[in-house]
Chain length 230, copies 2
């Protein structure tokens, strides 16, 4: 079917609105639907071989995520980002992730440490293969894993609501040649500090880690925009 060729990551048992949501989200994050583009409901409904109803529900969810913007009686457009957005999103992420650390240190088990180390190994392998496309989501999942240790699900949820941007931006940051290895080294140290239940050390490292990531992301964003402007 042509629709499955266009939208491969489709789980059959999920509601169509969820599939539409995931598909559009991915398309926006990867840039397949460029920033500023208008999403006409009828157009995308027929393109995806679904009706407008689930598509609209997907678009509202994307609005919630801040990936698209609703204009009254004019439909949705894909949001355009500025360095200001990146700055603020990293600020939020930083503040919220740091909130989870005390509980994470308190709850972490040896089994968790082992799991985290396994994730790191997988990431090491991808880093060696220079498979950045695959590395970025794993890096995001790694951070998410640590925050989830806290069990503070509302805070986790608040972080996740920024997740789309974070994924998008940390992919930018990780693509920066000189950042990848530093970041991964920091990831290893994080697990070491978790194992030692060293909260102050972890706090300091995570804060610095996100700050580095922000800087690299901003650089990547600026250079990308300069290229686009030329």
């Amino acid at each position: 079917m042509s629709s499955s060729a266009l939208f491969p990551a489709v789980a059959q048992n999920k509601p169509i609105r969820e599939i539409a949501y995931d598909t559009l989200k991915h398309a926006i994050i990867t840039g397949d639907i460029p920033a500023g583009a208008r999403i006409v409901e009828t157009e995308y409904a027929s393109k995806m071989h679904i009706s407008r109803t689930p598509l609209r529900e997907a678009l509202r969810k994307l609005e919630r995520d801040g990936l698209v913007e609703y204009l009254v009686r004019r439909g949705v457009i894909v949001r355009v980002f500025s360095t200001e957005d990146i700055y603020q999103i990293y600020t939020i992420r930083n503040a919220l992730e740091l909130l989870t650390l005390p509980a994470a240190v308190q709850n972490v088990t040896d089994a968790d440490i082992t799991e985290l180390r396994n994730e790191l190994n997988a990431m090491d392998a991808l880093l060696k293969k220079e498979d950045i496309e695959a590395l970025a989501p794993l890096a995001r999942a790694f951070h998410s894993h640590i925050t989830r240790l806290s069990g503070l699900y509302r805070i986790i949820r608040a972080i996740d609501s920024q997740d789309e941007f974070i994924t998008r931006f940390s992919a930018m940051a990780i693509r920066q040649e000189n950042r990848r290895n530093d970041a991964q080294r920091e990831h290893h140290i994080m697990v070491d500090l978790l194992e030692k239940r060293d909260l102050p050390g972890l706090h300091k490292l995570v804060e610095a880690h996100i700050e580095h990531s922000k800087q690299k992301c901003l650089e990547a964003f600026v250079s990308q925009n300069n290229k686009a402007a030329q």
Copy 2:
């Protein structure tokens, strides 16, 4: 409806889904629709004299807010809250509001100070009349006003996404007899500190203010639950 009193002009051309959203939100926050209750689409659609389409979009938005929960093929139920929820929501609010203070102090103008003082006067009057119903939203608006001074619209947005709970909970806190006057006194001092551009002082006060509010809210919640359990 009462919300149209605040914004009479826009109420007319607001989409029905927004009206449905506001109406349901209010009903849930006030407890008219009790926690744990199921919201059947057809039932509420006919009750509100609208079709299911805008109602569904309203329900999805409420899901985003965390006020209701979607069960697959079983519709929505109103979420039940615990002290853990209150704790986490206040933790998030605290972290995010503090993030906005440096920019708020930097941007604040004399006109802003005057406006804030006007708001405080209105609140003083309501406090004297013991009109707690009317006071709670003004108190929330006052805080919101200060955070908005920062211009950090993404952070503001993140706070606003917690807004429903915050309103609900700060209403609980403000109902506590021994809290009202303290809170209002602190509000006055906040504006004084803003006027002096005293960031450290403001930071400290806001942090303490939210902490107080959290404590009172938790007390109110516990005593309310004890009453309900009896």
